[in-house]
Symmetry: C2
C-alpha cells in the first residue's frame, strides 16, 4: 500500500466524518492499520497536509483541521469570490455541449441528494457549472475550500435540512445559465453559499 492510497483512504474517512476535526492521527497506528512501516505513512500525511486535510507540525501529532467560526467565515468569503468568478467566466464561454453535461450532472446530483453521497453529487454538479471557465487552478482552489467546509459539515453532523431549497437553487442556476443571465446566476450562487455558511456556523460550537 503506497502513500497515495493511504492518503486517499484517510481522506475518505475525514470527509465522511469518521475522523472528526481536531482528532489525532498517530503514525504508528496508521502504519499498523495498513500493514506498512511509518515511512509511507509520513508521506501520506504530508500529502494530506498539502491538500489542507490535516495540520502538521514538526515533532507533533498530525491533527484533522479544526477551524474556528471566523476561519470558516473567511473560507466562505473566498468561495464566494472564486466560485462566482468561475461562474461568470463559464457563462461567457458557454457552449452547447457544456449545457448537456450540466443537465446530466444535475440529474445525477438529484439522485444522490437523498443518499450519503449527496456531497459528491453536489460538487460534481458545481464542477460542471464551472468547467466551461477553463480555469484549472482556480477550480482546484475551489475544490480545496469546499473540502475544508465538507470536513466540518461531516464532523459536526450537519444535516442537510434545506435539501429541497438547494435542489431548487440548482435548477434555477441551470435556467440562468441557459439564458446567459450572468448577474442572476451569480446572485443565486451567492445566496446558495450564504445559506450553506449559515447552516454550518449554526452547528458549530465556539
Amino acid at each position: 500500500m503506497s502513500a497515495e492510497k493511504i492518503a486517499a483512504t484517510l481522506e475518505a474517512d475525514i470527509v465522511s466524518g469518521v475522523l472528526r476535526p481536531g482528532e489525532d492521527l498517530k503514525q504508528g497506528e496508521i502504519a499498523a492499520r495498513f500493514s506498512v512501516s511509518r515511512i509511507p505513512v509520513r508521506d501520506a500525511l504530508q500529502l494530506m497536509a498539502a491538500r489542507g486535510l490535516i495540520d502538521l507540525e514538526r515533532n507533533r501529532r498530525a491533527r484533522v483541521i479544526d477551524l474556528s467560526p471566523s476561519e470558516i467565515d473567511e473560507v466562505y468569503h473566498l468561495r464566494g469570490l472564486l466560485e462566482t468568478d468561475c461562474l461568470r467566466q463559464a457563462i461567457r464561454q458557454l457552449e452547447a455541449d457544456d449545457l448537456v453535461k450540466i443537465e446530466a450532472a444535475l440529474a445525477h446530483s438529484n439522485i444522490d441528494a437523498a443518499t450519503d453521497r449527496w456531497a459528491d453529487g453536489d460538487w460534481a454538479f458545481h464542477k460542471s457549472l464551472y468547467a466551461p471557465a477553463k480555469r484549472p487552478r482556480e477550480l482546484s482552489m475551489v475544490e480545496d475550500l469546499r473540502r475544508t467546509c465538507r470536513i466540518h459539515i461531516a464532523g459536526y453532523g450537519v444535516l442537510p435540512t434545506l435539501t429541497d431549497k438547494w435542489l431548487k437553487d440548482h435548477e434555477n442556476l441551470v435556467a440562468a445559465m441557459r439564458s446567459r443571465a450572468e448577474d442572476r446566476a451569480v446572485d443565486i450562487l451567492a445566496r446558495h453559499l450564504a445559506d450553506a455558511r449559515e447552516t454550518l456556523l449554526a452547528a458549530m460550537p465556539g
Copy 2:
C-alpha cells in the same frame, strides 16, 4: 539539518533563480549537499510541493515548477481577484497605525528596490497594504501565487525595467489608501498587476 531548514534553503535557491523552472532535484544530491540521509530530504521536498515550489510525482524526480504562459495568465487573474479584494477590505477597516506601518514598508521597499532584494521589499510593502483586511488565509494564498510568479521572474532573468513606474504606483496606492479612495486604489493595483503580467509573459519562451 531538519526538513524545514532544507526546504527553506532550497526555496531561497528557487526564488532567487539559482534553481530554475523545470530543473531536476535529486534526493541523493540534496542529501549529500546537506550531509543528511534521504529521509529528511523527502520531507523537505513534500513541504516544498505543498507550497507550490516543485512538482512531485511518485517514482519521478522532483522538478521546479515550470508554468506555461496560459497558466501564468491564470495565476495573474487569481492575483487580481484576491489582491484587489484584500485591498478593498483593508481600506474599509483601515486604522491610523496601519498607515504608519504602510509608510514604513514603503520607505523600506524604496531602499530595497535597487538591490537584489527588491522582490522581498515589494512583497513586504504589498503585505502591509493587505494586512488591515485581516484575512490570513487569503493573504497566504496571495503569497503562494506571488511566489509562483517570482520563481518564473527569477528563472527567466526578468529585469525590473519599470522600477520607477512601479515605485510611483506604490506611492499612488498609499495616497489612495490615505484618502480611502477604494475604486482608485483598486484601479492602480489592477494596472500594476497587468504591467507585471506583461513583463513576465514577454520574457517567457513558448
